[in-house]
């Protein structure tokens, strides 16, 4: 009995054998390696998942906000819209059948009146009862020099006073326009990318030029970043006859029409948005880490493009500049975008090549989202 008690104490007192230590160390190393690998894999998975969550969350917020704005859009033929159509000029991202790198001119812009809350233009002077429930809403991807906003989706919510509350004109302080029931204030006659057009009349020319321009001098205090990770904004139309187009009418029916407003070719018909069943909005979202990677690479090496360059590599939705061919289908623009993103992820270059480089790792943090907003115009 005694020896039985003493024997273990002797083994303990004698310490571990070399073999025991080696085995223990080996086991610890193996466990550590396994744990490290596990953590690494988990981290990678979590990082990817986190990126996905980041972009998902961002897209959800942006698209939900758009759903509210589009749902309350003022849909009439006697008010102005700034929407993509055959004549769509006035800012740096003019759209249509023009030229540009890859014939793609970057993100779209849109501005319209909507029945949603917005900032009171001058709360110290005008009480809330003098602010109408109608607001001017606009979306754009900022391309100015403001680093905090550069390459990020902005939303303008400009509160409008009731008609007659302020009768001042011009573009100075204290000039607040109500909703204007007049179309054609966005002059379609000026060429190039002048913004606003020299011939533009009405509040769009000065007081509201931020709604249609996207230059350094078109900042507007009512613009705020709504999608800091959204760097590409594109929209197109699903017509009531089922066609998908970049003009808000069917060019087979009205081949010579230039605009949704008064058109000399169709003097009897102001169509507004009446031909549209839904507006499809596609956005590209990048997670913050990947955005940082892109910007750092661009800063360090001019061969690398920045976030707006990356946006420009994602093609515009555009039909062929004529009738009979180039018809697009639902999802085609998203397919093109994903092709570009995959190409960057694999080679560091977009499909076309020859342009800017981008860190392949950054492409892994880019997601593409599309939502269709039914305009409910009967």
């Amino acid at each position: 009995m005694k020896s039985a008690i003493i024997a273990p104490s002797r083994r303990a007192a004698a310490g571990f054998t070399i073999a025991e230590l080696l085995v223990s160390i080996l086991v610890v190393v193996i466990i550590t390696l396994i744990a490290t690998q596990l953590m690494s894999n988990a981290s990678a998975i979590a990082r990817t998942g986190n990126k996905h969550f980041d972009t998902d969350t961002q897209a959800r917020v942006v698209l939900d906000r758009m759903a509210l704005d589009f749902g309350q859009m003022i849909k009439r033929t006697d008010v102005d819209y700034y929407v993509k159509q055959k004549v769509y000029k006035g800012h740096g991202n003019g759209h249509g059948c023009g030229a540009g790198r890859n014939n793609d001119l970057g993100s779209d812009q849109i501005a319209f009146y909507s029945h949603v809350p917005a900032y009171n233009p001058d709360p110290l002077t005008y009480s809330s009862t003098k602010q109408s429930p109608i607001s001017l809403i606009a979306y754009r991807v900022n391309e100015g020099n403001d680093a905090a906003r550069y390459g990020r989706l902005e939303r303008m919510s400009k509160g409008l006073l009731w008609n007659g509350v302020s009768n001042n004109t011009g573009n100075g302080n204290g000039v607040y326009y109500p909703i204007v029931f007049q179309t054609g204030q966005i002059d379609s006659s000026c060429g190039g990318n002048t913004c606003p057009c020299n011939g533009t009349v009405g509040p769009w020319a000065n007081a509201w030029k931020g709604a249609i321009c996207n230059t350094n001098n078109s900042s507007d205090p009512d613009y705020e970043v709504i999608g800091p990770n959204v760097f590409r904004f594109e929209y197109y139309y699903m017509l009531k006859n089922g066609r998908v187009t970049d003009w808000p009418w069917d060019r087979f029916d009205m081949p010579t029409r230039q605009t949704i407003f008064y058109d000399p070719s169709y003097p009897q018909i102001k169509i507004g948005l009446s031909q549209i069943e839904a507006i499809a909005v596609s956005i590209a979202v990048i997670d913050p880490a990947s955005r940082t990677l892109v910007q750092q690479a661009a800063s360090a090496n001019t061969a690398y493009g920045d976030i707006v360059d990356l946006a420009a590599e994602l093609p515009d939705f555009k039909n062929s500049c004529g009738r009979g061919n180039g018809q697009r289908t639902l999802g085609s623009v998203e397919l093109q975008w994903k092709g570009v993103i995959e190409s960057i992820a694999q080679t560091g270059q977009p499909i076309q090549g020859g342009g800017k480089l981008f860190p392949p790792e950054a492409a892994k943090g880019i997601r593409v989202y599309t939502r269709y907003f039914d305009l409910k115009i009967w």
């Binding site: 303990a12 986190n50 009439r76 029945h115 429930p133 007659g164 509350v165 007049q182 009405g202 003097p267």
Partner: protein, 725 residues
Amino acid sequence: MNSVIKVVRSEQRGAALIIVLAFVVLFAGLSVAYLSRTTSDRQIAHSSFHQSNVDQLVQSAVDNIIGDLRQEITNGSTAVTQADGTTLYTPTATANMVPQRSGNAAGAPNLIRRSVRVDPIPAPGRSSRASAVNSQDDVSSNGRSISSTRWNGHYLVPKGNTAIDDSSPIPAFTNATPDWVFVTDAGATVITSPSTSVIGRYSYAVYAEGGLLDMNVAGYPTDAVASTATIRPGRKGSAAYADLSALGSTDSNRFGNPDAAGVYQGDRLVGWRNYATTQPNNNFPDTGSQAFAKNFQTDTTATRPATAFYNYVLNNTNGFLSRTATPAPNGRTDQAFIQRQQLIAFRKAIGSTTSVSSNLLQYLGTFSRETNAPSFSPSTPAGSTIDYATLANTDPTAINPNFLLRRATSSFTRFDGTTANIGEPLVKTRFPLSRLAWVTYKGPSAVVYAANNSDPVITALTSAGVSLSTIKAGTAANVKACFGVTFQTGGGGGPGSPWTYTNPTGTSAASRILRLDEVAAAAREPDFFELLQAGILSGSLGQNTGGGVTGGNVFPDVHMSNSAQHILSIGAAIMDQADPDSIPMRIQLNPSGTLWTAYGVENLPYITQMYPIAGTSPNTPAQWATYLLFQLWNPHQDASTLPNNVRLRVDGAIGIFQGGNGESWVNGTTPQIIANGSSLGQSVTLQLTSSFAAPAPLTNTNTTGAAAAPGVAGQFAVLAAPTLP
């Protein structure tokens, strides 16, 4: 020694414990971080997921409700399938023309339906499928309910307490808020106990806004000129001149103009809404000495706001659906209430509990819509041998068809420039009666205007309220397209020449008026007379005296039996009643190789009675003389004094006396005129003071100015330009 061994063993156990604890802490931290991240993401995802679920459920609910309304239309109608695949639904009873009412609370006339348990809706209505769970009274397990105040957020139900500004409704509605409709995997289902198969729930109320005042139209400004302040609104007829100050007996239920506090609420409304048109001064919504639109009360100039508004109403051609195109000098434009929420907000901006209160909103809407197309289909009069009602729906060549069944059979361009697609209603819009001004006795109004923009015809039209834009639209082409008539020019044409009915595509006098099915085949819109023919029961046209003869100067029995002649006469009479002149409209047709003329009826005296007398000739007592006496009568209800110089032409012999019995013929003195067989074309002018509202013979008191008549004997001759009123 034992104690030493124990120490060593404790240290070993402690190290192991620390290592294990470290691993536990490490894994716990990782787990917490992971769970934390996934939980927040899960919550965000769930929030979006639930939002999508609610969206889907709402969309399904709306589809259900609208589907039930459509099914109600189908159940209460006779369906007629068209060749193009479309189906027309004609109500089988007049009660089916409007939705059935169900569950509506007393005192809430706008409410026509709600989701209600054991739905008592009469046929052909569809049950709401609501369960016995009330949206207000039966609070859900999470404590949520929908109060009657929330239900009445649109203020379409009268308020229960008008001393406060919220939307709390009358008790009758508070006690009858909608019940829940539960949606299970089998759709909207009535349940009697909690069920795990319930996916969601909805409840609803349906309101009719058709009887509300469209605030984009109704209401007019103060007119500082007394003479027009009563005349213009007094014309009525247009919702634009609805008197909003007469809506209620107190300021709280009306737009007092001014109200008891001296605030011109109606002017504030019109000044805001018709800003560019009326150009109010000062700033909205100020009151007092610098009141918004205060100039409405003081401006008496010819361009005052009230006149500008009047002209805006007269010249509006789009049903007030869009605003005037010309902005005010400050760049502001007319405004519109785009939706009800905006109207509610506007009311809040100008109203209070004592003036323009929220209770007023139950009478106000932001739109008024109706199909601007005729849906006429004839009924069969009692005793008729012609079953018009049946023929209208079955006979493809019916003269009086169901208008809805007459469809475009080929594509063509309508008068308004739009394209008529195959299958569309042939008559897609009403015929604007303003176009009647295009047809004048001097020709198309635009032609007359182009020749002389101050022509008395043009001046008379503008004085009668016809806009210049309307006058200038009356080109020869437009007149032919819309009326099917052409005016003779050159040759025997000119003022007073007759119009010729050719139909819109014809080149010479037509022999008849086409039916609507023939018009559709001709790929065009029907003209004025074709519409008249389609709308007037054919059996009531062309009535003759029973087969009499005709020819030469015989009483025109054949003319009377011709329905086309009859339609043209009716159309000409409509034109004459609309135009400001006194020249009867004449329209020619060619039914069988000879030109006939249909005449309109002006507001003038006509020969109403003729009777012969015979006796000894006053000039030659040895001879027998026969005289034909006649009387004139103006059968119009508004016959007053004659509006213009009206001359009566006589081709033959006539004597006019002072009137009364026992008068003797004194040649050259007593009679005003003597026109005998050798002096054709004598005339007298009817006195302006005479109305002939009652039948009266010609006397030397109601006639004057005997003179030779213009023109050729036996032919129509136009008089000189009338004196303008």
